[in-house]
């Protein structure tokens, strides 16, 4: 079995090799730590057994790959998309270009599947880090709170008030 080795420092080294078959819910690895008698980076529940051979600790561990709860999945996906969108559109000159970004469109799509969760996430983001979330909010909620004069702060305040009144914030 091929061994996967990572060099952490000059004195600490660990080798790992897969043990048995892996599937989408479970992976099993044998991890051998050389010249390191600490298992602090492993959670207790992950350690099934260990033994000491001279200066080496060998540990059998396995990780259970559990799907994230739905709310965490949505938040994680939203944060990832929002981060990409923010970075890629930081210097864009027009809102139409910002909202045509694939990550922004993906957030709107996510919002069409999970409106309550995504609206809450967008409103929290809008409160913490002002940005052009208005089109996404309008599209997902069907509400239109913008005025014709385009004042950013007024519209942001209106959406935060709307979100607070409906229990999103």
């Amino acid at each position: 079995m091929e061994c996967d080795t990572e060099q952490h420092s000059a004195d600490n080294r660990w080798d790992r090799e897969p043990v048995g078959p892996s599937d989408s819910t479970q992976e099993r690895w044998r991890v051998t730590l050389a010249r390191q008698h600490s298992t602090s980076h492993l959670s207790d529940s992950a350690v099934s057994e260990y033994w000491i051979e001279s200066d080496v600790i060998a540990i059998n561990v396995w990780w259970e790959l559990r799907p994230l709860p739905r709310e965490q999945n949505i938040e994680s996906k939203f944060q990832s998309l929002a981060k990409t969108w923010r970075a890629d559109t930081e210097h864009a000159s027009s809102v139409s270009r910002m909202i045509a970004h694939p990550s922004y469109l993906a957030i709107i799509k996510l919002g069409s599947q999970y409106p309550n969760e995504v609206v809450a996430l967008i409103l929290k983001e809008l409160r913490r880090r002002p940005d052009y979330w208005f089109v996404a909010l309008e599209t997902i909620t069907g509400q239109r709170l913008s005025k014709t004069d385009g004042d950013f702060d007024d519209e942001r305040r209106a959406w935060l008030k709307w979100g607070k009144n409906r229990g999103y914030l």
């Binding site: 559109t89 930081e90 027009s94 809102v95 139409s96 089109v135 014709t148 004069d149 385009g150 950013f152």
Partner: protein, 147 residues
Amino acid sequence: MPRSRYLESRFPKLRSTHYSVTSNRAVRYNCVAWVFGDRRRDWDLLRYWPSKTELGDTIASMVAFFRSFGFETCLLDKSLEPGVDKIALYRKNGTVEFSHVACQQPDGTWSSKLGKGRDISHDTLECLEGDVLDEYGTVAVIMKWAI
């Protein structure tokens, strides 16, 4: 304000140019609003468009937009002329898309609002060309407005 490593990572030509950051990050206004001194909203097709010119974000539509406020094209003459306000319109490379506008200051340097980010003062127009996302492109048109 000091130089910005972040901006230099996005606009590599800034590293070899004299420039200074002149404001904090502000999402609420864009480069077009900045030309007119409006710091509370984006001047954009979807936000606020105080002109009857055709809606669009091409160079041609933006030239028409600025013309409606009295600006005239002057090819690529970026020289400093007393009593004349000049603006430089950038076009995304290989397209007809308008990407940015910078305005000349009384001392001949240029001032830009970089999207949702900061305002900067910069000595050259070229320092914003060649950004890593290939977003700003190159200067396509200079326009002037006689005071």
